[in-house]
């Protein structure tokens, strides 16, 4: 039962993820402000208090991400990774094109090579066989 409730809570958080992120950021900003006020009350100057509060809070972005990770699905992380990969490929279209072409061309050439290699075994005709052997060498060189 607990797992089901937790699943639905996670779903709800996923649906309103932008709000959740904003709320966390606001909450942490509020925390920093409180700390700043306390430092000021202790007699610190405004700027010094702000700096001290920031320093005490540490890496806000990291805290935000860690807090979000607690409530996010594993799938969401996978989706983020996928989006990141797509973005990287878009940023570098030359690399993307090479990778795709090279990948498909490589596997195609390999398939042709294997096909040609297999054929002679079932073919008894000598001339055809040597012809295929020639093809095979060319195609293997291509791979």
């Amino acid at each position: 039962m607990n797992h089901v409730a937790r699943f639905f809570r996670k779903m709800w958080i996923l649906v309103r993820r932008e709000n959740v992120r904003g709320e966390l950021a606001e909450e942490m900003a509020c925390h920093r402000e409180h700390a700043e006020q306390e430092f000021q009350a202790d007699g610190m100057l405004r700027e010094a208090a702000r700096y001290a509060a920031r320093r005490q809070f540490g890496n806000a972005t990291q805290t935000l991400e860690q807090s979000r990770d607690v409530v996010s699905f594993g799938v969401e992380t996978a989706l983020q990774d996928f989006r990141f990969a797509i973005r990287q490929l878009r940023k570098n279209p030359g690399f993307a094109a090479t990778a795709i072409l090279r990948g498909s061309h490589g596997s195609l050439a390999l398939r042709v090579a294997i096909y040609l290699q297999r054929l002679p075994e079932t073919n008894s005709d000598c001339d055809t066989q040597s012809g295929f052997r020639c093809f095979r060498e060319v195609s293997l060189a291509f791979v």
Partner: protein
């Protein structure tokens, strides 16, 4: 003054839940309360406080609502709910057992 030390692992949830038994609090209030009650020995890092609060919300042990603070600012207040109270009871008895066991080992001569 005692040296500021890290919390014993696994006790943060219990300390937060215990703090909330007195009154609903916002994140900063919880951290301050733990710091004051422990006479500055325990400091809750914000880096562990906010992930912990999210975890407690997810478990359904606390609920959160936005309210105005004394200084008329919007803050998220956490309130302990029945399931959280039950969880606190379980964690307290587990902690008692553990500290009694450690005590027995340390007192052995």
């Amino acid at each position: 003054m005692a040296k500021k030390s890290d919390l014993i692992p696994g006790t943060l949830d219990m300390l937060i839940l215990k703090t909330l038994t007195r009154a609903p609090q916002h994140g900063y209030g919880i951290a301050l309360s733990i710091k004051r009650l422990s006479q500055d020995v325990l400091t809750v890092e914000e880096g562990s406080l906010y992930p912990a609060l999210q975890r407690l919300l997810l478990q359904g042990w606390v609920k959160a609502e936005w309210k105005k603070t004394e200084t008329n600012r919007r803050a998220r207040y956490y309130t302990l709910i029945a399931a959280g109270r039950k969880q606190l009871g379980a964690e307290l008895s587990q902690f008692d057992q553990m500290s009694a066991a450690i005590g027995r080992v340390l007192q052995d001569t």
